[in-house]
Amino acid sequence: MNDDEPLSAEESLNLIAQQSRRNRRELGGGPARMLAAWAFAWLLGWGFTYFATQTASIPGWVGGVLVAVLFVLAITYTGYVSARAGRGIRGPSKTVGAMYGYSWALSSIGLTVIDIRITQFGSLSSDQVSLLWSGTWLLLTGVLYLAGGMLWQDKLMYGLGAWMIVSAGLSVLVGFPANFLVLAICGGGGFLLGAIVYFVREKSGRR
């Protein structure tokens, strides 16, 4: 195309729409894809773990290993997507994004230490240990989504956080092994619903 050719108003608007689409694709349109990755990890991982508790043929550790593998994949994907989108960008939004990422890492390490220590005391039954882990992790997830909602003034993200906290309470109330169902359906389902809403918003051009 020739740079010097005069543009009509319509051509200009088309050009704006074209470049905006390119921006969204390259700079990361929103959290839809990341949420979809986490929905996949939670639904499959916790769903399988619940299924394993219902049959004697699958040893308990298989579910644990599957969840660990799926989480590592989801973390890697999330890191890759945000690093790719943030290439060559400097400024407040990059700082905020990095701090948010580190908040997840720091608080996850802290909670892992606490939960492992309490588990090691051996005073809780294995069913109660399971509730400790599902309750605290859903709570942490919820709180961090509340924080994300505040950071980016995103009501949907805040709502997702609130939902995760409700799920945390629910998971300990229903007890073992239904807590895995809460993790899969309420947790994973929450991520999936969030992913769908963000995806629809992206397609309709809203931010």
Binding site: D3, D4, A9, S12, Q19, S20, E26, I89, G91, S93
Partner: protein, 103 residues
């Protein structure tokens, strides 16, 4: 009938319009490195420099040279004036379309 709005000649050119849209896609206060902007636009370095200079002359764009780990980097951002100019430009486009009955 109101007069037809004038389109800002600084923005109303294919290449500079695309540069402006790309920069307006960043969050307020954020900057982008020259190579990343180039990749976002598929423009040659020379071409992009020329158009950035024109936008800088109009004070729509601010270009900063900095050092990161001893490597020089060129950072670009849309100024508040640039963002406002882009907003009134798109508004003018819509007014023109309404006036000419195109849609």
């Amino acid at each position: 009938m109101s007069e037809l709005p004038q389109l800002d000649p600084v923005i109303h050119a294919q290449a500079r319009l695309r540069v402006t849209v790309a920069l307006a896609g960043l969050h307020t206060g954020d900057q982008i490195t020259f190579p990343r902007l180039q990749q976002l636009l598929d423009m040659t370095a020379g071409n992009l420099s020329t158009h950035l200079r024109k936008l800088e002359d109009a004070e729509y764009v601010e270009i900063t040279k900095a050092y990161e780990h001893r490597t020089p980097v060129t950072l670009v951002r849309l100024t508040a004036a640039g963002r406002a100019a882009f907003e009134s430009y798109t508004k003018a486009l819509h007014q023109l379309l309404d006036a000419t009955g195109g849609d």
